[in-house]
């Protein structure tokens, strides 16, 4: 395929993906907006007002970056895992496999679809947060970089999950039993400084700690971890996930007999 044809194929997959989550917006976009609003009300306003400052900011200001990042991670992941597994389940993935679309275009189409949903929901959550607090962006560059890298990483992770999944149970196990606990323990609601040394050390094994803190640095200018190290970790795992996803598509594992 020529580059122009590949671009058409990419845009076709992307358009299909965006249409899919917009068509079922009560399942895809609304829940995050409602859940995050509840977090803002309960943790930010009601409980947060009694907690006082954290990291030099009001508790509400402290949790907002983490909650936005939580929405980005869960939405970019779940969009790709449910869409790609769905196409495996109803065999419509064969439409792509019989066509001349290169594997990287297929992957990019699904991943960018997941990224756009992550960004869409992040925008909604950010707008909702403005009802509760004022946001000052410390570094737009870091915010944009972290959002794009993180949503790409978790969209790729969703893709890998979808390739291995054999049933709808398999696409909910990772988000429920791995992703959600890691997010909650990733410093969304608290600073690592509050943890005893041992648990702070254990927390540093959690990749979500770097994601949340890098984004918090971009918004508030404070972080529990080094920004450079955090970006390096996110970048490393993104490249790793991309290479592995390409390997899965190339080998046809779980896709071709």
């Amino acid at each position: 395929m020529t580059l122009a044809e590949q671009y058409v194929a990419f845009m076709t997959i992307l358009r299909k993906e965006i249409r899919r989550y917009l068509r079922i917006w009560p399942q895809t976009l609304l829940p995050s907006a409602i859940t995050m609003s509840l977090y803002f009300v309960i943790f930010g306003s009601l409980i947060g007002s009694r907690i006082g400052e954290m990291g030099g900011f009001t508790y509400m200001q402290f949790v907002v970056p983490g909650l936005i990042m939580m929405a980005i991670v869960t939405n970019s992941y779940s969009n790709v895992v449910s869409s790609f597994f769905g196409s495996k389940f109803n065999h419509s993935v064969e439409e792509l496999l019989v066509s001349p679309v290169p594997h990287y275009v297929i992957l990019m189409g699904y991943v960018v679809g997941g990224v756009t949903r992550g960004l869409f929901v992040a925008l909604v959550v950010t707008l909702v947060s403005l009802f509760f607090t004022r946001l000052h962006i410390h570094s737009y560059l870091v915010v944009i970089l972290v959002v794009l890298m993180t949503s790409t990483l978790f969209a790729l992770a969703g893709f890998i999950n979808a390739v291995f999944a054999n049933s709808f149970d398999d696409i909910s196990i990772i988000p429920t039993f791995v992703l959600t606990p890691l997010i909650y323990l990733g410093g969304v609601f608290y600073s690592m400084d509050l943890l005893p040394d041992f648990w702070a050390g254990v927390s540093r094994l959690n990749p979500l700690v770097y994601v949340v803190n890098a984004f918090r640095y971009g918004v508030l200018g404070v972080s529990d971890v080094s920004l450079g190290f955090a970006l390096g970790m996110i970048g490393f795992f993104t490249v790793l996930a991309f290479v592995y996803s390409m390997h899965l598509l190339g080998s046809g594992k779980r896709l071709r007999q």
Binding site: T12, N90, L97, V101, Q257
Partner: protein, 305 residues
């Protein structure tokens, strides 16, 4: 002229050890209407799956219009349109979107994709269902949707895996006319079907796969010439006597108005009529007991030909 499809020593052994294809070879000429027949599990769908990349081969070569799929599969895929046996589209998408998206996967710009989708949805008589979610379509409409989807990039080779399964007779005839038309315009067609009258009506050449090997690969005319025995059903005007015999023929009385007569290769039907006429039996109509290709097919797959 380069063949539309060349398969040499194609082999497939699945992970569970089942040997679906045992090194088959066949060639389909450009412009041909080719039937790929065989009993369930013979290896037809495996062969098609390998040609269109849904199944990885274990050995052998496949060339589509001279392009080796091991060398440039994307280029080979551009020449192929596939209509699979099972419905394989997103049932929540609209018929029009399914066809337009497929065109996009082949790199057709969005405007052209829409034009082509309209052209083929109209040609297959489902344009008025374009905005209907595909799950709401009838079985016959779903089959036609898959044909429109396979044609949207205007492939030179169209492969149909049981395209008329579950389709009513009227619709099947309409699909036959459509396929004859696109074949006449130059599209090479490979068809698998369990309706042998369909293969006989449409196809010029045939390969029969059995247990992963090619049992026969010839023209349909030549295959039918090999038929050693045909059985005819004769409807008689008068009530038949208890015993009917025609010298040299195997005759069975099915009921008081129906006879079954077996005619071996080399025997003449005239002799049957002469024998019946001399016995005072007059025939109002006659037909083959089974489709002639079906008789041949059964002989081949049961090893009795």
């Amino acid at each position: 002229m380069i063949p539309a499809l060349t398969i040499e020593n194609l082999a497939k052994t699945y992970a569970d050890g089942f040997e679906a294809l045992k090194g088959i070879s066949l060639e389909v000429k450009q412009g041909d209407f080719f039937a790929l027949l065989g009993p369930n599990g013979a290896g037809k769908s495996t062969t098609i799956g390998i040609i269109c990349s849904l199944i990885a081969k274990s050995g052998g070569t496949v060339k589509v219009f001279g392009i080796d799929i091991d060398v440039d599969f994307p280029l080979a895929k551009k020449a192929i349109g596939i209509v699979p046996q099972e419905f394989n589209f997103n049932t929540f998408e609209k018929a029009f979107d399914i066809v337009v998206n497929q065109a996009g996967y082949y790199g057709l710009p969005h405007g052209l994709a829409k034009e082509r989708a309209e052209k083929y949805l109209k040609a297959l008589g489902i344009w008025d269902k374009r905005d209907v979610q595909s799950r709401m379509l009838s079985g016959g409409m779903k089959r036609r949707l898959m044909i429109a989807r396979a044609l949207v990039h205007e492939p030179k080779l169209l492969i149909l895996d049981e395209p008329t399964a579950g389709v009513d007779i009227e619709m099947r005839r309409a699909m036959w006319d459509f396929l004859r038309d696109i074949n006449a315009k130059g599209t090479t067609i490979i068809l698998t079907t369990h309706y042998l009258e369909e293969a006989e009506a449409l196809c010029r050449n045939i390969a029969i796969i059995n247990h992963g090997s090619i049992a026969e690969n010839t023209s349909i005319k030549e295959l039918l010439r090999q038929l050693r025995r045909e059985v005819f059903i004769l409807d008689c005007i008068e009530t038949l006597p208890g015993q009917v015999a025609i010298p040299g023929f195997d005759v069975r009385r099915l009921d008081e108005h129906t006879l079954e007569v077996a005619v071996e290769k080399g025997q003449q039907l005239n002799a049957v009529f002469a024998g019946l006429d001399s016995a005072g039996i007059h025939i109002s109509s006659m037909r083959n007991r089974a489709n002639r290709l079906e008789e041949m097919f059964v002989n081949l797959v049961e090893g009795g030909a």
